[in-house]
Symmetry: C2
């Protein structure tokens, strides 16, 4: 085997993104997933549309976009209060599609907080094209370990 | 290798269910998925919660439930008018969780139709416990090949 083959199979990851180190469960199964945490508290999560994300038409499956939305939007709570959370309600609007090879990005912000319940408004996009918007209600659980 | 090992690794599938023959894309990745089409036009889709469906707490990941909802609810349109479809909007309410090993079932019915847009109301459950309810808006596309 030569190095050429390995290089051809490699993904060009945009600058600033790191791969999520998920080696078990659903996170591993639908990966690879990437993230970029910005110094101002904002963040982006991302994934490249691979064959195992596609529907019968060769585009990103709507179910994958919803699963990604759940992860990408809920993370706003982790960023804001560093707590675990569960999804209570999620509304997703499909505005456009993503093709195989597209680099899909998503982020969200907390827009409401009442006791342990957080309202989040999120968006998923490819380049300058929004492909999904959504709002979610999440319940925060216990504190996460402090980040190093 | 003996037959014993193979039998231990087998899943007991409830009577009437057949495995979906999905060998590509997202459908294969999050499978195995099962279905039961009833003679009266109703249907159930199902999956057993496996390790690759779990979240960090060992329960079924919310993203998996949403992806399953998309497939299980949208199928109501296939059953009703035998057309392809895309998801426009999906609202999912998380009422309870599913554990590893649980047999999760879901179904939906068309409750509204206007031009090519179909409103669908669905439910996902484990045994007699509802774990998710939802409503979806789907756009119907071209006709599917006739079923044999």
């Amino acid at each position: 085997m030569t190095d050429d083959l390995l290089e051809e199979a490699q993904l060009i990851v945009p600058v600033g993104y790191r791969r999520m180190e998920w080696f078990t469960g659903f996170g591993r199964q639908i990966g690879p997933l990437y993230y970029r945490d910005n110094d101002d508290g904002t963040y982006v999560r991302a994934f490249p549309v691979c064959e195992h994300h596609t529907n019968g038409m060769g585009n990103c499956h709507g179910g994958m976009l919803m699963a990604f939305a759940d992860m990408a939007f809920g993370h706003a709570i982790t960023r804001k209060v560093n707590r675990y959370w569960v999804t209570v309600r999620l509304l997703t609007d499909f505005l456009s599609g993503a093709k195989r090879g597209d680099w899909v990005e998503g982020s969200a912000e907390v827009v409401g907080e009442e006791d342990d319940f957080f309202s989040v408004k999120g968006r998923i996009w490819v380049g300058d094209r929004t492909i999904m918007t959504g709002t979610g209600l999440f319940k925060a659980l216990g504190e996460r370990p402090k980040r190093k």
